[in-house]
């Protein structure tokens, strides 16, 4: 007898509230009939229809019915959980029903709105959907949400502009930061450059204030000549081992991690005469020569863009190279900082400018010149500059490009300025690359003039190859340590290309700067501050709350095969000391991948148990 009583007690008491949503549902679904039907379903203790369940009286109806009919689970059959589930969950909780004992059945978007022309079928489908909801609700269980404490310290990997900016922002918010830099000093890629875009200050001058602030900040602990050696833990509780050159590893505890390891320029082995002629250099090498004031005497300089990029060695456009070339071209044209070299012997190598035939010139002037000027900067700008006028420095500068990527305001204005300085921009197509060759000991560039449709040759003193930024060679190692993905180009892959640009899918780890893809300084800095914002959220809260929607491992069934650990996109599973999988509740998103792949059926999801889902599926197939 006592057994019976207990069964009686535990028998679910489901309340079903079916909404007319004005005429949105009521106009197409016979809501009264669905309500009547719902009341006949097993364990349904109460069923009612509301004109608007979300309106005050609808919500009161739910609360009152919970008390009056002693309901222990609630179904609202109405619109979309996206907008309304939180409202009904709060209502349930206010009446003492755990929010996980609530379930939603969408008979508007999923039913009435798509079956406006078949009212009978819509009503039948609504009944089916309600029956499925009831079947699942019978197996609902209350859940407790868990909180995990967070160590309020951050780790930033990379001491370039991005890493420094992120570290400084976090430090300014009051959080201790460990800044790990593999080099012996801060500054990253930028410290090797001569000048920067959008400023006349030198690169070092520009970033010095940032370095000074980082050096001075009490919340930032720098680890130079160091790297991340190992990572254990999960959001809020990472144990990091920082290795140094020969030094003993340091152990730090952090709550969140920002990856800002930067990128390196592609070395254009075998392309455009690189390494075959000393005056064929990369744009990065050009910066270094400028810094050292070791440039040869120049009368004519050619930039070749997209060297190895856009479908050659790499598929992507490296975003920054055109604007770097524009900056350098302007510097050369203006002979800014007296950057041009003094070595007399190199002057002998300079060739002479080949005069263009008069006929060609005439052809150039025809066509759409007038319209182009009126409309602003069109293409074929090489024609506009003409040969008769050289830049004030007396150096011819030609930029061979596929498209000039001077996007936005500042870059485009710089592009315009370069052309005002008589820098020529000559387009080439990928199936007709410029050719760098040496003739009579002199360097020359051969190219196909796209407007005139003919081959031409130009003697030059210096060829600067703009090569794309590529991923750091050790990015893969770090990605494995942090269990965060790399994209196909080897750059770190953010969680969502549009809406989560500085997050990883794994909570607690963030990314910024050129290690996630080419970006100029201003963009990298925005991303860095963004990453700081994202990384500081758990630190500021001091805890992370996990929705009680996680996987559960049945230890008796788990064989420790590790399939789930591999599968989990959030690194929320790990093997414990006994080799059995355990769930890191704070990291689990409840996506169910592990449950689906577990060969032993040892993993289920809370709130979406196999039992619940099967009941729902069976109910769907039930003949009525």
């Amino acid at each position: 007898m006592p057994e019976n009583t207990s069964t009686e007690k535990e028998k679910p008491r489901i309340g079903v509230f079916i909404c007319h949503c004005g005429s949105n549902i009521g106009g197409f679904v016979d809501v009264k009939a669905v309500t009547e039907y719902a009341s006949t379903l097993p364990d349904v203790a109460y069923a009612a229809d509301n004109l608007y369940t979300c309106a005050e009286d609808g919500l009161n109806n739910i609360k009152d019915s919970i008390k009056e009919h002693n309901l222990d689970r609630v179904i609202v059959s109405s619109c979309t959980p996206r907008t309304h589930a939180p409202l009904f969950q709060r209502t349930c909780e206010a009446a003492g029903v755990n929010k996980y004992m609530f379930t939603f059945v969408n008979i508007r978007e999923h039913c009435s709105w798509v079956h406006m022309k078949e009212k009978e079928k819509a009503t039948q489908k609504a009944k089916d959907l309600v029956r499925m909801g009831v079947a699942r609700a019978r197996f609902l269980e209350p859940q407790e949400e868990t909180k995990v404490d967070v160590t309020p310290t951050a780790l930033v990997v990379g001491g370039g502009v991005s890493g420094m900016t992120a570290a400084l922002s976090l430090a300014n918010m009051g959080f201790p930061v460990h800044l790990v830099e593999k080099d012996e000093e801060l500054g990253g890629f930028v410290k090797n450059l001569h000048g920067l875009m959008m400023t006349t200050k030198s690169a070092n001058e520009t970033i010095k204030p940032l370095i000074d602030k980082v050096n001075a900040h009490k919340n930032i602990t720098q680890h130079l000549n160091s790297h991340v050696a190992s990572v254990e833990g999960f959001i809020g509780n990472y144990d990091i081992s920082i290795g140094g050159d020969g030094a003993e590893a340091k152990e730090v505890k952090v709550g969140t991690i920002i990856v800002a390891t930067g990128a390196v320029p592609l070395v254009p082995e075998g392309l455009f005469g690189y390494k075959e002629h000393p005056n064929v250099i990369t744009s990065t090498e050009f910066e270094e020569l400028c810094n050292k004031k070791e440039l040869p005497k120049l009368k004519s300089v050619a930039f070749i863009q997209c060297v190895g990029a856009r479908g050659q060695k790499v598929s992507y456009c490296s975003r920054v190279c055109c604007n770097v070339a524009i900056k350098s071209a302007i510097n050369i044209a203006e002979n800014r900082d007296n950057m041009l070299g003094v070595t007399e012997e190199k002057a002998a190598e300079t060739g002479e400018v080949v005069e263009e035939p008069a006929a060609e010139k005439k052809a150039e002037e025809e066509g759409s010149d007038r319209r182009r000027r009126r409309r602003g900067r069109g293409r074929g700008d090489e024609d506009e500059a003409g040969e008769e006028a050289a830049p004030s420095s007396g150096v011819e500068v030609t930029v061979f490009n596929r498209d000039v990527m001077s996007y936005g305001v500042e870059h485009e204005l710089e592009f315009n300025k370069a052309r005002e300085k008589r820098v020529k921009f000559v387009r080439y197509l990928p199936d007709n690359l410029p050719k760098v060759s040496v003739k009579d000991g002199k360097l020359e560039v051969g190219y196909f003039h796209e407007t005139l449709k003919m081959e031409r040759t130009m003697p030059v003193d210096l060829v600067i190859l703009s090569t794309p930024l590529v991923a750091q060679p050790d990015a893969a190692t770090l990605s494995q340590l942090l269990k965060v993905p790399l994209g196909q180009d080897g750059f770190f892959q953010e969680a969502h290309v549009k809406l989560r640009p500085v997050d990883f899918a794994t909570d607690g780890v963030y990314v910024c700067g050129t290690c996630r893809g080419p970006a100029d300084i201003s963009e990298a800095v925005s991303q860095a501050a963004a990453a700081a914002s994202r990384a500081s959220i758990p630190l500021a809260n001091g805890f992370v709350q996990a929705e009680a929607l996680t996987s559960i491992v049945d230890e008796t069934k788990c064989t420790g095969c590790g399939t789930c650990v591999e599968t989990c996109p959030y690194s929320a599973l790990r093997k414990n000391e006994e080799g059995i999988t355990e769930v890191i509740v704070a990291a689990c998103k409840g996506c169910g991948c592990c449950g689906a792949t577990c060969p032993e059926g040892a993993i289920t999801m809370t709130h979406y148990t196999d039992q619940q889902l099967l009941a729902e599926a069976k109910a769907a197939l039930e003949e009525v």
């Binding site: 309106a55 598929s315 293409r379 925005s526 994202r534």
Partner: protein
């Protein structure tokens, strides 16, 4: 110190900033100008380079933002003023009245269906219409409706009874005739009658007056009253609650009828006492059949009486029953006895036979009495009674001259009446005033007049007529009908207790129409002296309101009658329409043949046919634009509509401010070489974006404006207005190359036979996955790219746009089915104004300036104010999101260092 942050702009950048801050426990006020958050991203169909559905990825963020306990989303709100400094700003935010309770509204859309007003839907780039009550798009957050109400239409404002004229005109246009009559009846109990006889100040106010001619508002009212009755739809309103209190209404003129009807609807037991044998007062006795057929009046009065109103005819209070007795028997009394006593001219000879006073004359004619008048009739006066008398006398076969002491311009009669009289052959003797009436053998022979001239304006503002000495002249007549004025016949009331004014009208408290005797109210001509029917209706309504209050035991203290809503001007409408209002001819009411007009009492002006009415109603320019027809309030299940909602100013105290106001799309009409608006099949990229969206104006179909066909061959022209110093946009918008590529891909996804060509200057596909995207467009979607400037002409026969471009210096042309222009993205229109309020600097192109754009992009030139998204310069979605988070970090730093956060 404050712990909150204000974010201005609810696009993706603002949403991201708000969410970042809120998630770390900082309170956020998100201020959005439009009724929904979501910004431009919500308008996009897909996003490059993954072709994810834009709203599908955005909507959850919008919902999260709105539902977040730490985010106060203030939509339909604008920053008014800001002061203070980083860590402690004071911001006044104008929360505009949306006239819908955001909490109660569940977004069901029942109101959208009943709203009679149609306006261009801004969200769909004006490519389809939306009602005046609306949510901008299906996934709007909050999904609470907003009433687009910029003010009151002048027609509605001018109506003495406060009837929303725009409301019923809109309802008529939407063919909601019954609803129109219901709306009219809520103010004017006799729609057909009022539509015929009203002096329609509404039409004088009409904003169309200065464009062409006012909308025939009164005529529409007459139409709809008749139409609904003829359709048999004019059934009485069920009385919801029966009341035991009894009310006596004395006088069945417009004031009495209005009051009786209102009180009957409220369930009171109403009994009317009418001195004559017919209902309607002056409507029956004073207005001849050719203006108001008696059957129309009878039908409309019957409708009112059908609400359980008892009426007793031939009962004069003061004669047949005493006011004191009424007072005893009834819980309240309303006196609406009108002004039926003709005032005399006060000249010698007025008592000679053949002098018939205007109102008495009309009364007797109405009573079918045989009234004898002579061959030559002089009518004295310039009001409506004079016109009615003159036109009636004319129809009785007399030669009629109207003698009026001022000129035609000063005549108080309705213009249509004067015009009618003139058309029918009534003569006018202006600037003349009777001196005496001459008679012989007890019969009139002539009337002597004196010439007048116009002097200084008198109290009424009209020039005072001054007699010209020695200018007397005589007009030979045998009948004189003075119709100068009327007064209430108070003696007949026989009550010594009622207070009376010096003008011999009943004295009342104008605020509630109560007389000095408690429980006795009065209104209409008896209080005001002779006035219009519509004013009498208004008085009846008002009396009913206060009688009800008094019977409810409530205070009858007059409520303030504030009328301070902005009255919409023609300029307002022009600004809204971005230009002039197209002219459209007023539909004229047909007249019966001229010969009939002189001989019969048949109604002169024919009421509009349904077709005429719809045509005329369509001329309304939706001043409000909400017409205040109340249809939404009636339809609203949760009672969320609140017409009395007022704009509010909310003062916020944020420690930091984030500006994320986004961009506008430049209108390329002025760049005529692209043919936008000139050639139908030229679209802007944003228009295309809305078209290709499944929930857009064409349901996801790309259709040609010219013929509705799907274009098979599309051209996309890049940099329209941008990278172009001539139009002031030398910059590159950063997103259009990818955007056009996406749109070209989508064309192929929608139609297998669609081919696209993109004309570009530089294909700027320079972020993660972008170059690969272009390559995919070429290889998998057949998109061609031509490196050339391009302009547009048209093949006039096919309406096919012809693109002119050049390759290798040679000009070429190619015909396409449609052209899509990648127009410049520019700062929001109101950026300058906002910058002024915030004290921020703008760049030469109008973007907010970020002084250290290298190492501290997003920091404005003022501490504590940060920038995010397109308002700080071109940026795509992920950049805007990153900038949103970045600005959040900077704001959080400020709070951390100002003692908050």
């Amino acid at each position: 110190m404050t712990k909150s942050v204000m974010v201005i702009g609810g696009g993706i950048a603002g949403i991201q900033a708000a969410l970042d801050l809120a998630e770390r426990g900082i309170e956020v006020d998100l201020v959005e100008k439009l009724p929904s958050i979501g910004g431009r991203m919500a308008q996009l169909d897909k996003t490059f380079p993954t072709n994810d559905c834009s709203i599908c990825i955005l909507a959850p963020k919008m919902a999260d933002c709105y539902a977040h306990p730490s985010i106060n989303v203030m939509t339909y709100s604008e920053v008014k003023d800001i002061s203070g400094k980083a860590g402690d700003f004071k911001v006044d935010v104008l929360k505009k009245a949306r006239f819908v309770d955001e909490e109660k509204c569940n977004g069901c859309g029942d109101c959208f269906k009943v709203c009679p007003v149609s306006l261009p839907n801004e969200f769909d780039m004006g490519m389809r219409e939306r009602p005046a009550i609306y949510v901008p798009f299906l996934q709007s957050v909050p999904r609470a409706a907003t009433i687009d109400r910029a003010g009151v239409a002048p027609c509605s404002d001018k109506c003495p009874a406060g009837l929303s004229a725009q409301g019923y005109v809109s309802l008529i246009r939407a063919e909601k005739f019954k609803e129109a009559v219901d709306l009219i009846r809520r103010t004017i109990p006799l729609p057909s009658v009022c539509g015929r006889i009203c002096h329609h100040p509404c039409e004088e106010g009409c904003n169309r007056t200065d464009v062409d001619e006012p909308v025939a508002i009164a005529g529409l009212k007459a139409f709809v009253g008749d139409y609904v009755r003829e359709q048999g739809e004019d059934v009485p309103t069920p009385i919801e609650e029966e009341r035991k209190e009894k009310v006596a209404v004395v006088g069945a003129g417009p004031a009495g009828l209005a009051a009786a009807y209102r009180l009957a609807l409220k369930g009171f037991k109403v009994k009317m006492f009418e001195a004559t044998s017919k209902p309607g007062g002056m409507l029956w006795w004073g207005i001849p059949d050719y203006r108001l057929p008696k059957d129309v009046l009878t039908a409309e009065v019957d409708h009112l009486l059908a609400h359980g109103i008892e009426i007793e005819y031939g009962k004069t209070v003061g004669k047949d029953l005493a006011l004191a007795d009424l007072k005893k028997e009834y819980d309240a009394v309303f006196l609406a006895i009108g002004a039926h006593k003709s005032l005399k001219l006060g000249v010698p000879g007025e008592d000679i036979e053949g002098v018939l006073h205007g109102v008495d004359f009309l009364h007797r004619v109405a009573d079918k009495e045989t009234v004898k008048i002579g061959k030559k009739v002089a009518v004295i006066g310039g009001g409506n009674a004079a016109m009615d008398a003159a036109r009636t006398a004319l129809r009785m076969g007399s030669d009629v001259t109207v003698i009026y002491r001022r000129t035609k311009d000063e005549m108080p009669a309705i213009a249509a009446e004067i015009k009618g009289a003139e058309e029918e052959g009534v003569k006018f003797e202006f600037l003349a005033s009777p001196v005496n009436i001459q008679g012989k053998d007890g019969k009139i022979t002539a009337i002597e007049c004196i010439r007048m001239k116009l002097g200084e304006p008198d109290q009424s503002g009209r020039p005072r007529p001054v007699p010209v000495d020695g200018s007397e002249f005589t007009v030979e007549v045998d009948t004189v009908i003075p119709a100068v004025s009327q007064a209430p016949d108070l003696d007949a009331l026989g009550s010594k207790d009622l207070a009376v004014t010096k003008w011999k009208t009943l004295e009342v408290n104008p605020g509630n129409l109560s007389t000095n005797i408690p429980g006795v109210f009065a209104g209409g001509d008896a209080v005001s002296g002779p006035a219009s029917a519509v004013e009498a209706f208004a008085a009846g309504n008002k009396a009913a309101r206060y009688i009800e209050k008094s019977l409810n035991g409530e205070s009858i203290e007059p409520e303030p009658e504030e009328k301070n809503e902005h009255v919409i001007t023609l300029e307002d409408i022009k600004a809204r329409m971005d230009g002039d209002i197209p002219k459209s001819e007023r539909v004229l009411r047909q007249h019966i043949p001229d010969d009939k007009r002189k001989t019969s009492f048949e109604e002169v002006e024919r009421v509009f046919t349904k077709e005429e009415a719809l045509k005329e109603a369509a001329r309304c320019v939706n001043c409000g634009p909400c017409s205040q027809c109340e249809a939404c309030a009636i339809a609203c299940g949760p009672n969320a509509i609140d017409y009395n909602m007022k704009d509010q100013v909310v003062t916020l105290n944020p420690g930091a401010v984030i500006v994320a106001t986004g961009f506008d799309v430049w209108d390329p009409t002025s760049a005529s070489e692209y043919g936008y608006k000139k050639y139908p099949n030229v679209y802007t990229a944003m228009e295309y974006e809305r078209m290709i969206n499944a929930s857009g104006p064409t349901g996801g179909h790309i259709v040609r404006r010219s013929d509705g066909e799907h274009p098979k061959k599309l051209a996309f022209i890049q940099c329209v207005g941008s990278r172009n110093p001539q139009v002031g946009h030398p910059y590159c918008c950063s997103v259009c190359c990818m955007h056009a590529t996406k749109e070209a891909m989508l064309a192929r996804e929608h139609y297998e036979d669609a081919n696209s060509t993109i004309f570009y200057k530089d294909m700027r596909a320079c972020a993660k996955g972008f170059n690969e995207y272009i390559e995919r467009a070429k290889s998998d979607y057949g998109v061609s790219y031509i490196n050339s400037d391009a302009t547009v002409q048209e093949n006039a026969e096919t309406n096919n746009p012809v693109v002119v471009f050049d390759v290798g210096g040679k000009q070429q042309t190619e015909e396409f089915d449609a052209v899509v222009l990648a127009t410049t993205l520019v700062p929001r229109k109101d950026t300058i104004e906002l910058a002024k309020k915030l004290g921020l600097k703008l760049t030469e192109f109008g973007f907010f300036e970020s002084p250290d754009s290298i190492l501290d992009f997003g920091k404005s030139d003022l501490p504590g104010i940060y920038l995010a998204g397109y308002c700080a310069g071109p940026a795509d979605i992920p950049e805007s999101v990153a900038q949103g988070s970045s600005a959040a970090a900077k704001a959080a730093e400020v709070l951390a260092n100002s003692g908050g956060g």
